[in-house]
Protein backbone atom coordinates (compact mmCIF):
# COMPACT_ATOMS: atom_id res chain seq x y z
CA UNK A 1 0.00 0.00 0.00
CA UNK A 2 1.27 3.46 -0.82
CA UNK A 3 0.53 6.11 1.76
CA UNK A 4 -1.24 9.15 0.35
CA UNK A 5 0.50 12.48 0.74
CA UNK A 6 -1.00 14.16 3.79
CA UNK A 7 -3.12 17.23 3.35
CA UNK A 8 -1.27 20.21 4.77
CA UNK A 9 -3.13 22.37 7.23
CA UNK A 10 -1.89 25.91 7.79
CA UNK A 11 -2.33 27.01 11.39
CA UNK A 12 -2.49 30.78 11.74
CA UNK A 13 -2.66 33.07 14.74
CA UNK A 14 -6.00 33.00 16.52
CA UNK A 15 -7.47 36.16 18.00
CA UNK A 16 -8.00 36.45 21.72
CA UNK A 17 -7.07 33.65 24.10
CA UNK A 18 -8.96 30.62 22.84
CA UNK A 19 -6.64 28.21 24.72
CA UNK A 20 -6.98 29.88 28.13
CA UNK A 21 -6.76 27.23 30.84
CA UNK A 22 -4.98 24.71 28.66
CA UNK A 23 -1.47 23.40 29.26
CA UNK A 24 1.20 22.28 26.83
CA UNK A 25 4.48 20.57 27.61
CA UNK A 26 7.36 20.86 25.15
CA UNK A 27 9.84 18.00 25.52
CA UNK A 28 13.21 18.18 23.83
CA UNK A 29 16.54 16.45 24.17
CA UNK A 30 18.93 19.35 23.81
CA UNK A 31 19.02 23.02 24.66
CA UNK A 32 18.44 24.22 21.12
CA UNK A 33 15.85 21.72 19.87
CA UNK A 34 12.65 23.49 20.83
CA UNK A 35 13.95 26.99 20.02
CA UNK A 36 14.74 25.92 16.48
CA UNK A 37 12.04 23.37 15.70
CA UNK A 38 9.10 24.78 17.67
CA UNK A 39 10.06 28.07 19.32
CA UNK A 40 7.57 30.05 17.25
CA UNK A 41 4.74 27.61 17.95
CA UNK A 42 5.41 27.74 21.70
CA UNK A 43 5.29 31.55 21.72
CA UNK A 44 2.12 31.50 19.61
CA UNK A 45 0.29 28.99 21.80
CA UNK A 46 1.15 30.87 24.99
CA UNK A 47 -0.05 34.12 23.41
CA UNK A 48 -3.31 32.34 22.65
CA UNK A 49 -3.81 31.33 26.27
CA UNK A 50 -1.84 28.15 26.86
CA UNK A 51 0.44 27.77 29.87
CA UNK A 52 3.68 26.21 28.64
CA UNK A 53 6.26 24.01 30.36
CA UNK A 54 9.50 22.69 28.95
CA UNK A 55 11.34 19.44 29.67
CA UNK A 56 14.94 18.81 28.56
CA UNK A 57 15.81 15.12 28.71
CA UNK A 58 19.60 15.19 28.20
CA UNK A 59 22.38 16.93 30.10
CA UNK A 60 23.96 18.29 26.89
CA UNK A 61 27.40 17.35 28.15
CA UNK A 62 28.87 17.05 24.66
CA UNK A 63 28.07 20.58 23.54
CA UNK A 64 29.79 23.81 24.47
CA UNK A 65 33.43 23.26 23.62
CA UNK A 66 34.58 23.05 27.21
CA UNK A 67 34.97 20.19 29.68
CA UNK A 68 32.10 17.76 30.10
CA UNK A 69 31.26 19.32 33.46
CA UNK A 70 31.44 22.88 32.18
CA UNK A 71 29.22 21.96 29.23
CA UNK A 72 26.58 20.53 31.58
CA UNK A 73 26.57 23.74 33.59
CA UNK A 74 26.52 26.15 30.66
CA UNK A 75 23.71 24.29 28.89
CA UNK A 76 21.72 24.08 32.13
CA UNK A 77 21.96 27.82 32.71
CA UNK A 78 21.24 28.70 29.09
CA UNK A 79 18.23 26.40 29.15
CA UNK A 80 16.75 28.45 31.96
CA UNK A 81 17.40 31.69 30.08
CA UNK A 82 16.01 30.35 26.82
CA UNK A 83 12.87 29.09 28.61
CA UNK A 84 12.40 32.47 30.23
CA UNK A 85 12.65 34.26 26.88
CA UNK A 86 9.98 32.05 25.32
CA UNK A 87 7.79 32.38 28.41
CA UNK A 88 7.65 28.88 29.86
CA UNK A 89 6.21 28.76 33.36
CA UNK A 90 8.65 26.14 34.61
CA UNK A 91 11.60 24.09 33.44
CA UNK A 92 12.32 20.40 34.02
CA UNK A 93 15.79 19.00 33.34
CA UNK A 94 16.16 15.22 33.44
CA UNK A 95 19.94 15.22 32.75
CA UNK A 96 20.34 11.88 30.94
CA UNK A 97 23.79 11.76 29.37
CA UNK A 98 23.67 13.31 25.97
CA UNK A 99 24.41 11.11 22.96
CA UNK A 100 24.03 8.10 25.23
CA UNK A 101 20.27 8.08 25.66
CA UNK A 102 19.87 4.87 23.72
CA UNK A 103 21.39 3.09 26.73
CA UNK A 104 18.89 4.35 29.28
CA UNK A 105 15.82 2.45 30.40
CA UNK A 106 12.93 3.49 28.15
CA UNK A 107 10.42 2.55 30.81
CA UNK A 108 12.04 4.76 33.41
CA UNK A 109 12.08 7.91 31.32
CA UNK A 110 8.56 7.09 30.17
CA UNK A 111 7.48 6.78 33.80
CA UNK A 112 8.98 10.14 34.62
CA UNK A 113 7.33 11.83 31.66
CA UNK A 114 4.01 10.18 32.50
CA UNK A 115 4.24 11.66 35.97
CA UNK A 116 5.16 15.11 34.70
CA UNK A 117 2.34 15.13 32.13
CA UNK A 118 -0.13 14.07 34.82
CA UNK A 119 1.16 16.51 37.42
CA UNK A 120 0.93 19.40 34.95
CA UNK A 121 -2.39 18.16 33.50
CA UNK A 122 -0.97 18.49 29.99
CA UNK A 123 -3.51 18.85 27.21
CA UNK A 124 -0.93 19.11 24.44
CA UNK A 125 2.65 18.02 23.91
CA UNK A 126 5.28 19.28 21.51
CA UNK A 127 8.20 16.96 20.84
CA UNK A 128 10.17 14.91 18.35
CA UNK A 129 8.30 12.78 15.88
CA UNK A 130 8.89 9.24 17.19
CA UNK A 131 8.28 7.83 13.71
CA UNK A 132 10.52 10.26 11.84
CA UNK A 133 12.72 8.57 9.27
CA UNK A 134 16.38 9.39 8.81
CA UNK A 135 16.79 10.74 12.32
CA UNK A 136 20.52 10.61 13.06
CA UNK A 137 20.36 11.62 16.71
CA UNK A 138 19.60 8.79 19.13
CA UNK A 139 18.64 11.25 21.87
CA UNK A 140 15.91 12.65 19.62
CA UNK A 141 14.60 9.16 18.91
CA UNK A 142 14.55 8.09 22.57
CA UNK A 143 12.90 11.31 23.66
CA UNK A 144 10.22 11.17 20.97
CA UNK A 145 9.46 7.53 21.70
CA UNK A 146 9.23 8.11 25.45
CA UNK A 147 6.94 11.10 24.95
CA UNK A 148 4.61 9.20 22.68
CA UNK A 149 4.41 6.26 25.09
CA UNK A 150 3.91 8.58 28.06
CA UNK A 151 1.05 10.31 26.24
CA UNK A 152 -0.58 6.94 25.71
CA UNK A 153 -0.15 5.93 29.34
CA UNK A 154 -0.91 9.10 31.25
CA UNK A 155 -4.58 8.86 30.37
CA UNK A 156 -4.88 5.32 31.67
CA UNK A 157 -5.81 4.81 35.31
CA UNK A 158 -4.27 1.35 35.19
CA UNK A 159 -0.75 2.69 34.64
CA UNK A 160 1.23 3.89 37.66
CA UNK A 161 -1.75 3.69 40.00
CA UNK A 162 0.39 5.23 42.74
CA UNK A 163 0.24 8.57 40.92
CA UNK A 164 -3.52 8.56 41.21
CA UNK A 165 -3.34 7.95 44.92
CA UNK A 166 -0.95 10.86 45.28
CA UNK A 167 -3.52 13.16 43.71
CA UNK A 168 -2.34 13.13 40.09
CA UNK A 169 -5.25 11.64 38.15
CA UNK A 170 -5.06 10.02 34.75
CA UNK A 171 -5.14 12.82 32.22
CA UNK A 172 -5.29 12.18 28.48
CA UNK A 173 -3.08 14.26 26.20
CA UNK A 174 -5.35 15.36 23.39
CA UNK A 175 -3.02 17.02 20.92
CA UNK A 176 0.52 16.37 19.82
CA UNK A 177 2.74 18.53 17.66
CA UNK A 178 5.64 16.38 16.48
CA UNK A 179 8.60 18.14 14.94
CA UNK A 180 11.36 16.72 12.81
CA UNK A 181 15.00 17.64 13.05
CA UNK A 182 15.50 17.46 9.26
CA UNK A 183 13.66 19.20 6.41
CA UNK A 184 12.84 15.90 4.70
CA UNK A 185 10.86 14.49 7.61
CA UNK A 186 7.08 14.17 7.46
CA UNK A 187 4.68 16.96 8.35
CA UNK A 188 0.99 17.66 7.95
CA UNK A 189 0.79 21.08 9.57
CA UNK A 190 2.51 24.36 8.83
CA UNK A 191 2.32 26.95 11.59
CA UNK A 192 2.60 30.61 10.72
CA UNK A 193 5.15 32.06 13.11
CA UNK A 194 5.74 35.33 11.25
CA UNK A 195 4.56 37.42 14.20
CA UNK A 196 6.66 35.44 16.65
CA UNK A 197 9.96 35.32 14.81
CA UNK A 198 11.62 37.92 17.02
CA UNK A 199 10.99 35.84 20.16
CA UNK A 200 12.24 32.73 18.36
CA UNK A 201 15.44 34.60 17.49
CA UNK A 202 15.78 35.84 21.08
CA UNK A 203 15.46 32.26 22.32
CA UNK A 204 18.06 30.95 19.89
CA UNK A 205 20.46 33.71 20.89
CA UNK A 206 20.37 32.29 24.43
CA UNK A 207 21.61 28.96 23.05
CA UNK A 208 25.30 29.75 23.06
CA UNK A 209 26.80 26.43 24.07
CA UNK A 210 25.06 24.91 21.07
CA UNK A 211 22.71 26.36 18.52
CA UNK A 212 24.86 29.22 17.30
CA UNK A 213 23.49 31.85 19.66
CA UNK A 214 26.88 33.56 20.03
CA UNK A 215 28.13 33.22 16.49
CA UNK A 216 27.25 36.78 15.50
CA UNK A 217 29.30 38.40 18.23
CA UNK A 218 32.13 35.94 17.61
CA UNK A 219 32.17 36.83 13.92
CA UNK A 220 31.98 40.52 14.73
CA UNK A 221 34.98 40.20 17.08
CA UNK A 222 36.95 38.21 14.51
CA UNK A 223 36.30 40.78 11.79
CA UNK A 224 37.20 43.63 14.13
CA UNK A 225 40.60 42.05 14.72
CA UNK A 226 41.04 42.15 10.94
CA UNK A 227 39.91 45.78 10.83
CA UNK A 228 36.62 44.95 9.16
CA UNK A 229 32.93 44.78 9.99
CA UNK A 230 29.65 43.47 8.57
CA UNK A 231 27.06 46.24 8.71
CA UNK A 232 24.20 43.78 9.26
CA UNK A 233 25.79 42.70 12.56
CA UNK A 234 25.28 46.18 14.00
CA UNK A 235 27.41 47.75 16.65
CA UNK A 236 26.89 45.57 19.71
CA UNK A 237 27.07 41.85 20.56
CA UNK A 238 23.37 41.35 21.12
CA UNK A 239 22.47 42.83 17.75
CA UNK A 240 25.24 40.82 16.09
CA UNK A 241 23.95 37.58 17.59
CA UNK A 242 20.31 38.28 16.68
CA UNK A 243 21.04 39.31 13.11
CA UNK A 244 23.41 36.43 12.55
CA UNK A 245 20.65 34.03 13.59
CA UNK A 246 18.10 35.80 11.41
CA UNK A 247 20.25 35.91 8.29
CA UNK A 248 22.22 32.67 8.46
CA UNK A 249 20.51 30.11 10.70
CA UNK A 250 16.80 30.28 9.89
CA UNK A 251 16.74 29.58 6.17
CA UNK A 252 14.67 26.40 6.63
CA UNK A 253 11.92 28.33 8.40
CA UNK A 254 11.86 30.95 5.68
CA UNK A 255 11.59 28.18 3.07
CA UNK A 256 8.83 26.35 5.01
CA UNK A 257 6.66 29.44 4.73
CA UNK A 258 7.10 30.17 1.04
CA UNK A 259 4.67 27.57 -0.42
CA UNK A 260 1.96 29.03 1.83
CA UNK A 261 2.80 32.70 1.35
CA UNK A 262 4.05 32.99 4.89
CA UNK A 263 7.15 34.88 5.87
CA UNK A 264 8.21 32.39 8.52
CA UNK A 265 6.81 28.97 9.38
CA UNK A 266 7.48 25.83 11.41
CA UNK A 267 6.37 22.37 10.35
CA UNK A 268 4.82 19.62 12.43
CA UNK A 269 3.22 16.24 12.23
CA UNK A 270 0.08 17.03 14.18
CA UNK A 271 -1.97 14.34 15.91
CA UNK A 272 -5.39 15.16 17.31
CA UNK A 273 -6.66 12.59 19.77
CA UNK A 274 -9.18 14.70 21.57
CA UNK A 275 -12.29 12.64 22.12
CA UNK A 276 -15.24 13.79 20.03
CA UNK A 277 -17.93 15.56 21.98
CA UNK A 278 -20.37 12.98 20.63
CA UNK A 279 -19.39 9.46 19.69
CA UNK A 280 -20.44 7.74 16.47
CA UNK A 281 -22.60 5.44 18.55
CA UNK A 282 -24.35 8.41 20.16
CA UNK A 283 -25.02 9.89 16.74
CA UNK A 284 -26.27 6.57 15.39
CA UNK A 285 -28.57 6.07 18.36
CA UNK A 286 -29.99 9.56 17.96
CA UNK A 287 -30.70 9.04 14.28
CA UNK A 288 -32.03 5.51 14.45
CA UNK A 289 -33.56 4.80 17.85
CA UNK A 290 -37.35 4.32 17.91
CA UNK A 291 -39.88 4.23 20.70
CA UNK A 292 -40.53 0.82 22.27
Amino acid sequence: MIAAAPKIFVEKDQPGRPHQGKVFVAVHAHLDDVPYFAGGLCVKLMKEGYTGYIVRTSNDEKYGGHTIAENILSNEQEHLKMASVIGFKDVFDLYYRSRRMNEISPVEIRGRLTFILRALKADTVISFDPSATGEPDGDHEETGRAVEDACAMCGSASDFAEHLEAGFPAHPVGERYYFGARPDQRFNRVVDISRHIEKKIDAIVECKSQGGGARGSELRARLAKQGRRLPLLGSDDQTANREYVRHFLLDDYREYGKPHNLQWAERFYYVDERPPTRSKVDEYVERNSVRI
Binding site: F92, S105, P106, G111, F115, A119, E162, E165, A166, G167
Partner: protein
Protein backbone atom coordinates in the same frame (compact mmCIF):
# COMPACT_ATOMS: atom_id res chain seq x y z
CA UNK B 1 14.79 3.71 66.34
CA UNK B 2 13.30 0.29 66.93
CA UNK B 3 15.49 -0.55 69.91
CA UNK B 4 16.38 -3.71 71.73
CA UNK B 5 18.80 -5.08 74.25
CA UNK B 6 22.12 -6.76 73.89
CA UNK B 7 21.96 -10.52 73.71
CA UNK B 8 24.04 -12.87 75.76
CA UNK B 9 23.61 -15.67 73.27
CA UNK B 10 27.20 -16.79 73.02
CA UNK B 11 26.61 -19.54 75.53
CA UNK B 12 23.51 -20.79 73.74
CA UNK B 13 25.06 -21.01 70.29
CA UNK B 14 28.52 -22.52 70.33
CA UNK B 15 30.58 -22.92 67.18
CA UNK B 16 30.79 -26.44 65.92
CA UNK B 17 33.67 -28.08 67.71
CA UNK B 18 34.52 -30.76 65.24
CA UNK B 19 31.82 -33.09 66.39
CA UNK B 20 28.34 -31.57 66.15
CA UNK B 21 26.96 -28.56 64.29
CA UNK B 22 24.27 -26.18 65.54
CA UNK B 23 21.59 -28.11 63.73
CA UNK B 24 22.58 -31.34 65.42
CA UNK B 25 24.31 -32.88 62.42
CA UNK B 26 27.84 -34.22 62.40
CA UNK B 27 30.63 -31.74 61.70
CA UNK B 28 34.11 -32.49 60.42
CA UNK B 29 35.26 -28.93 60.93
CA UNK B 30 38.65 -29.20 62.70
CA UNK B 31 38.77 -27.39 66.00
CA UNK B 32 41.49 -25.02 64.77
CA UNK B 33 38.86 -23.34 62.57
CA UNK B 34 36.23 -20.96 63.87
CA UNK B 35 32.98 -21.37 61.94
CA UNK B 36 31.95 -18.34 59.91
CA UNK B 37 28.38 -19.51 59.54
CA UNK B 38 26.04 -21.35 61.85
CA UNK B 39 23.64 -24.05 60.82
CA UNK B 40 20.15 -23.78 62.22
CA UNK B 41 18.10 -26.60 63.68
CA UNK B 42 15.16 -27.37 61.43
CA UNK B 43 11.89 -29.22 61.81
CA UNK B 44 12.22 -30.31 58.16
CA UNK B 45 8.50 -29.66 57.73
CA UNK B 46 8.91 -26.96 55.09
CA UNK B 47 11.63 -25.36 53.02
CA UNK B 48 9.95 -21.95 53.33
CA UNK B 49 10.82 -21.07 56.90
CA UNK B 50 14.33 -20.41 58.22
CA UNK B 51 17.58 -20.63 56.23
CA UNK B 52 20.06 -23.45 56.59
CA UNK B 53 22.73 -21.05 57.81
CA UNK B 54 23.13 -17.66 59.39
CA UNK B 55 26.16 -15.52 59.97
CA UNK B 56 25.87 -13.58 63.20
CA UNK B 57 27.37 -10.20 64.04
CA UNK B 58 29.10 -9.81 67.40
CA UNK B 59 26.89 -6.86 68.31
CA UNK B 60 23.64 -8.75 67.73
CA UNK B 61 20.62 -7.25 69.45
CA UNK B 62 17.45 -8.97 70.58
CA UNK B 63 14.52 -6.69 69.93
CA UNK B 64 11.70 -7.29 72.40
CA UNK B 65 8.21 -5.91 72.84
CA UNK B 66 7.82 -2.24 73.64
CA UNK B 67 4.91 -1.13 75.83
CA UNK B 68 2.52 1.52 74.55
CA UNK B 69 2.84 3.04 71.09
CA UNK B 70 6.43 4.30 70.95
CA UNK B 71 6.40 4.42 67.14
CA UNK B 72 3.23 6.45 66.78
CA UNK B 73 3.58 8.72 63.75
CA UNK B 74 6.18 6.56 62.04
CA UNK B 75 5.62 4.71 58.78
CA UNK B 76 6.93 1.36 57.60
CA UNK B 77 6.81 -0.19 54.17
CA UNK B 78 7.15 -3.96 53.86
CA UNK B 79 8.28 -4.66 50.32
CA UNK B 80 8.10 -8.13 48.89
CA UNK B 81 8.57 -9.69 45.50
CA UNK B 82 5.81 -12.24 46.12
CA UNK B 83 2.70 -12.43 48.23
CA UNK B 84 4.21 -14.97 50.64
CA UNK B 85 7.61 -13.36 51.28
CA UNK B 86 6.84 -10.91 54.05
CA UNK B 87 4.28 -13.22 55.71
CA UNK B 88 6.81 -16.06 55.92
CA UNK B 89 10.01 -14.26 56.75
CA UNK B 90 9.04 -11.06 58.53
CA UNK B 91 5.31 -11.21 59.31
CA UNK B 92 5.79 -11.32 63.08
CA UNK B 93 8.05 -8.29 63.22
CA UNK B 94 5.90 -6.23 60.85
CA UNK B 95 2.83 -7.00 62.98
CA UNK B 96 4.79 -6.14 66.13
CA UNK B 97 5.95 -2.74 64.89
CA UNK B 98 2.46 -1.86 63.65
CA UNK B 99 1.06 -2.83 67.04
CA UNK B 100 3.67 -0.57 68.62
CA UNK B 101 2.47 2.44 66.66
CA UNK B 102 3.81 2.28 63.13
CA UNK B 103 1.50 2.84 60.17
CA UNK B 104 2.28 -0.01 57.81
CA UNK B 105 2.05 -0.49 54.06
CA UNK B 106 2.60 -3.67 52.11
CA UNK B 107 4.12 -3.36 48.63
CA UNK B 108 4.15 -6.40 46.35
CA UNK B 109 6.35 -6.00 43.30
CA UNK B 110 5.47 -9.06 41.18
CA UNK B 111 2.12 -10.28 39.89
CA UNK B 112 2.64 -13.79 41.33
CA UNK B 113 1.54 -15.35 38.07
CA UNK B 114 3.73 -18.41 38.63
CA UNK B 115 1.39 -19.80 41.29
CA UNK B 116 -2.10 -20.88 40.38
CA UNK B 117 -4.23 -23.27 38.36
CA UNK B 118 -3.56 -21.15 35.30
CA UNK B 119 -1.50 -18.03 35.02
CA UNK B 120 -4.66 -15.91 35.05
CA UNK B 121 -6.13 -17.61 38.12
CA UNK B 122 -2.81 -17.26 39.90
CA UNK B 123 -2.66 -13.53 39.30
CA UNK B 124 -6.22 -12.96 40.47
CA UNK B 125 -5.94 -15.14 43.59
CA UNK B 126 -2.70 -13.55 44.72
CA UNK B 127 -4.07 -10.07 44.08
CA UNK B 128 -6.90 -10.95 46.44
CA UNK B 129 -4.63 -12.66 48.97
CA UNK B 130 -2.34 -9.71 49.42
CA UNK B 131 -5.29 -7.69 50.69
CA UNK B 132 -6.01 -10.38 53.28
CA UNK B 133 -2.36 -10.62 54.28
CA UNK B 134 -2.12 -6.84 54.65
CA UNK B 135 -5.20 -6.86 56.87
CA UNK B 136 -3.83 -9.65 59.05
CA UNK B 137 -0.58 -7.75 59.49
CA UNK B 138 -2.46 -4.57 60.36
CA UNK B 139 -1.28 -2.68 57.28
CA UNK B 140 -3.23 0.36 56.17
CA UNK B 141 -2.97 -0.51 52.50
CA UNK B 142 -1.41 -2.94 50.02
CA UNK B 143 0.14 -1.93 46.71
CA UNK B 144 0.98 -4.16 43.77
CA UNK B 145 3.31 -3.30 40.89
CA UNK B 146 2.50 -6.48 38.90
CA UNK B 147 5.91 -7.12 37.29
CA UNK B 148 5.98 -10.63 35.89
CA UNK B 149 6.78 -13.33 38.39
CA UNK B 150 10.25 -14.95 38.11
CA UNK B 151 11.14 -12.61 35.26
CA UNK B 152 12.05 -9.51 37.18
CA UNK B 153 15.67 -9.66 36.08
CA UNK B 154 14.15 -8.74 32.72
CA UNK B 155 12.79 -5.48 34.12
CA UNK B 156 14.55 -2.17 34.43
CA UNK B 157 15.59 -1.99 38.08
CA UNK B 158 15.86 1.75 37.71
CA UNK B 159 12.14 1.96 36.98
CA UNK B 160 11.19 -0.23 39.94
CA UNK B 161 13.47 1.87 42.11
CA UNK B 162 11.89 5.07 40.78
CA UNK B 163 8.42 3.82 41.63
CA UNK B 164 9.53 2.88 45.13
CA UNK B 165 11.10 6.31 45.60
CA UNK B 166 7.78 7.84 44.60
CA UNK B 167 5.88 5.70 47.11
CA UNK B 168 8.42 6.25 49.90
CA UNK B 169 8.05 9.99 49.40
CA UNK B 170 4.28 9.86 49.11
CA UNK B 171 3.88 7.70 52.22
CA UNK B 172 6.79 9.36 54.10
CA UNK B 173 8.33 6.00 54.91
CA UNK B 174 10.78 5.80 57.82
CA UNK B 175 11.44 2.06 57.95
CA UNK B 176 11.49 -0.72 55.39
CA UNK B 177 11.35 -4.49 55.39
CA UNK B 178 12.68 -6.33 52.35
CA UNK B 179 14.64 -9.31 51.13
CA UNK B 180 18.34 -8.78 51.87
CA UNK B 181 19.83 -7.50 48.59
CA UNK B 182 22.94 -9.55 49.39
CA UNK B 183 21.14 -12.75 50.35
CA UNK B 184 23.52 -15.60 49.57
CA UNK B 185 22.53 -18.47 47.29
CA UNK B 186 19.04 -17.14 46.67
CA UNK B 187 17.61 -19.02 43.69
CA UNK B 188 14.83 -16.57 42.99
CA UNK B 189 15.87 -13.67 40.74
CA UNK B 190 12.88 -11.57 41.82
CA UNK B 191 14.15 -11.42 45.41
CA UNK B 192 17.51 -9.94 44.54
CA UNK B 193 16.03 -7.49 42.03
CA UNK B 194 13.56 -6.21 44.61
CA UNK B 195 16.19 -6.11 47.36
CA UNK B 196 18.50 -4.01 45.22
CA UNK B 197 15.70 -1.70 44.13
CA UNK B 198 14.64 -1.16 47.75
CA UNK B 199 18.19 -0.51 48.89
CA UNK B 200 18.73 2.15 46.22
CA UNK B 201 15.31 3.69 46.78
CA UNK B 202 15.91 4.05 50.52
CA UNK B 203 19.07 5.99 49.89
CA UNK B 204 17.78 8.10 47.02
CA UNK B 205 14.32 8.99 48.31
CA UNK B 206 15.85 11.55 50.66
CA UNK B 207 17.96 13.17 47.97
CA UNK B 208 17.10 16.64 46.80
CA UNK B 209 18.56 16.09 43.35
CA UNK B 210 16.83 12.78 42.63
CA UNK B 211 13.60 13.06 40.67
CA UNK B 212 13.12 16.77 41.37
CA UNK B 213 9.83 16.66 39.48
CA UNK B 214 8.36 14.96 42.56
CA UNK B 215 9.19 18.00 44.65
CA UNK B 216 7.76 20.37 42.08
CA UNK B 217 4.55 18.36 42.33
CA UNK B 218 4.47 18.79 46.11
CA UNK B 219 5.99 15.57 47.42
CA UNK B 220 8.54 15.72 50.23
CA UNK B 221 11.81 13.80 50.59
CA UNK B 222 11.51 10.59 52.60
CA UNK B 223 13.98 9.80 55.31
CA UNK B 224 14.25 6.02 55.40
CA UNK B 225 16.49 5.50 58.40
CA UNK B 226 15.85 1.90 59.38
CA UNK B 227 16.02 -1.25 57.29
CA UNK B 228 15.15 -4.79 58.25
CA UNK B 229 16.56 -7.17 55.65
CA UNK B 230 15.51 -10.81 55.84
CA UNK B 231 16.91 -13.91 54.19
CA UNK B 232 15.16 -16.45 52.02
CA UNK B 233 15.04 -20.05 53.08
CA UNK B 234 16.23 -22.67 52.76
CA UNK B 235 19.51 -21.98 50.97
CA UNK B 236 19.60 -18.22 51.11
CA UNK B 237 21.19 -16.68 54.16
CA UNK B 238 22.51 -13.37 55.29
CA UNK B 239 24.35 -11.62 58.04
CA UNK B 240 22.12 -11.36 61.10
CA UNK B 241 22.54 -8.66 63.72
CA UNK B 242 19.00 -8.51 65.02
CA UNK B 243 16.74 -11.18 66.44
CA UNK B 244 13.18 -10.09 67.04
CA UNK B 245 11.07 -11.70 69.72
CA UNK B 246 7.78 -12.37 67.93
CA UNK B 247 6.17 -14.59 70.55
CA UNK B 248 3.35 -12.11 71.15
CA UNK B 249 2.73 -11.87 67.42
CA UNK B 250 3.04 -15.46 66.31
CA UNK B 251 -0.71 -15.74 65.81
CA UNK B 252 -0.68 -12.60 63.62
CA UNK B 253 2.04 -14.23 61.56
CA UNK B 254 0.03 -17.43 61.29
CA UNK B 255 -3.10 -15.58 60.17
CA UNK B 256 -1.09 -13.62 57.62
CA UNK B 257 0.17 -16.84 56.11
CA UNK B 258 -3.27 -18.43 56.18
CA UNK B 259 -4.47 -15.46 54.11
CA UNK B 260 -2.08 -16.53 51.36
CA UNK B 261 -4.20 -19.14 49.66
CA UNK B 262 -2.83 -18.70 46.14
CA UNK B 263 0.83 -19.14 46.91
CA UNK B 264 3.22 -20.54 49.45
CA UNK B 265 3.05 -23.44 51.87
CA UNK B 266 0.22 -22.11 54.05
CA UNK B 267 -3.23 -20.95 52.96
CA UNK B 268 -5.79 -23.73 53.00
CA UNK B 269 -3.37 -26.65 53.22
CA UNK B 270 -4.59 -27.49 56.74
CA UNK B 271 -8.24 -27.81 55.78
CA UNK B 272 -7.33 -29.80 52.71
CA UNK B 273 -5.31 -32.21 54.85
CA UNK B 274 -8.18 -32.46 57.33
CA UNK B 275 -10.64 -33.27 54.54
CA UNK B 276 -8.27 -35.78 53.00
CA UNK B 277 -7.85 -37.56 56.30
CA UNK B 278 -11.59 -37.53 56.86
CA UNK B 279 -12.09 -39.37 53.59
CA UNK B 280 -9.75 -42.01 54.93
CA UNK B 281 -11.69 -42.13 58.19
CA UNK B 282 -8.87 -40.48 60.13
CA UNK B 283 -8.12 -37.14 61.78
CA UNK B 284 -5.32 -35.20 63.38
CA UNK B 285 -6.83 -33.92 66.62
CA UNK B 286 -4.87 -30.66 66.63
CA UNK B 287 -6.46 -29.65 63.31
CA UNK B 288 -9.75 -29.22 65.18
CA UNK B 289 -13.26 -29.54 63.85
CA UNK B 290 -13.49 -26.85 61.19
CA UNK B 291 -11.52 -25.58 58.21
CA UNK B 292 -10.50 -22.31 59.84
CA UNK B 293 -9.01 -24.07 62.83
CA UNK B 294 -7.33 -26.61 60.58
CA UNK B 295 -5.69 -23.93 58.45
CA UNK B 296 -4.51 -21.99 61.47
CA UNK B 297 -3.18 -24.97 63.39
CA UNK B 298 -1.49 -26.50 60.37
CA UNK B 299 0.51 -23.31 59.78
CA UNK B 300 1.35 -22.88 63.43
CA UNK B 301 2.47 -26.47 63.86
CA UNK B 302 4.31 -27.13 60.63
CA UNK B 303 5.46 -23.73 59.36
CA UNK B 304 6.16 -21.83 62.54
CA UNK B 305 8.12 -24.63 64.19
CA UNK B 306 11.40 -23.51 62.65
CA UNK B 307 10.89 -19.98 63.98
CA UNK B 308 10.35 -21.61 67.37
CA UNK B 309 13.57 -23.62 67.01
CA UNK B 310 15.46 -20.50 66.04
CA UNK B 311 13.92 -18.57 68.92
CA UNK B 312 15.07 -21.24 71.33
CA UNK B 313 18.66 -20.54 70.28
CA UNK B 314 18.22 -17.12 71.88
CA UNK B 315 16.01 -18.08 74.79
CA UNK B 316 12.84 -17.00 73.00
CA UNK B 317 9.65 -18.85 72.12
CA UNK B 318 9.50 -17.59 68.52
CA UNK B 319 11.89 -15.31 66.63
CA UNK B 320 12.66 -13.76 63.27
CA UNK B 321 16.14 -12.80 62.15
CA UNK B 322 17.29 -9.71 60.25
CA UNK B 323 20.22 -7.74 59.02
CA UNK B 324 19.16 -4.50 60.62
CA UNK B 325 20.57 -1.19 59.43
CA UNK B 326 19.66 1.67 61.74
CA UNK B 327 19.99 5.43 61.74
CA UNK B 328 23.47 6.71 61.05
CA UNK B 329 25.32 8.58 63.76
CA UNK B 330 25.15 12.34 63.57
CA UNK B 331 28.69 12.68 62.26
CA UNK B 332 28.63 16.44 61.99
CA UNK B 333 27.28 16.85 65.50
CA UNK B 334 29.93 14.48 66.85
CA UNK B 335 32.70 16.55 65.26
CA UNK B 336 31.12 19.74 66.57
CA UNK B 337 31.02 18.25 70.06
CA UNK B 338 34.65 17.22 69.75
CA UNK B 339 35.59 20.72 68.65
CA UNK B 340 33.66 22.25 71.57
CA UNK B 341 35.46 19.99 74.01
CA UNK B 342 38.96 20.30 72.64
CA UNK B 343 39.28 23.73 71.06
CA UNK B 344 41.72 25.96 72.99
CA UNK B 345 42.25 29.74 72.84
CA UNK B 346 44.75 30.96 70.22
Amino acid sequence: MAGGMAAGFAGALKPASGAEAGNGSHSDLPSKFTPTAYSLPSSKYSPFTTPDYYTYADDLIIERNHPGKPYQGKVLAAIEAHSDDIPLFAGGTVAKLIDEGYTGYLIRVSNDEAAGKTLGYGVVQNEKDIQGAAKALGCKKAYSFYYRNHRMDDNAVIEIRARLIFLFRLLQVNTVFAMDPYDHYDENPDHLVVGKAVEGACWMSGGGKEYPEHYKAGLKPASVREKYYHARSPQGHNLVNRIVDINSYIDHKVRTNVANTGKGPAGTVGSRLRNELAKQGKKLPFLGDDDETANFQYVKRFLMDDFHLMGQQFGLEYAEAFRYIGPQPNYRENIRRFVDEHAVPL
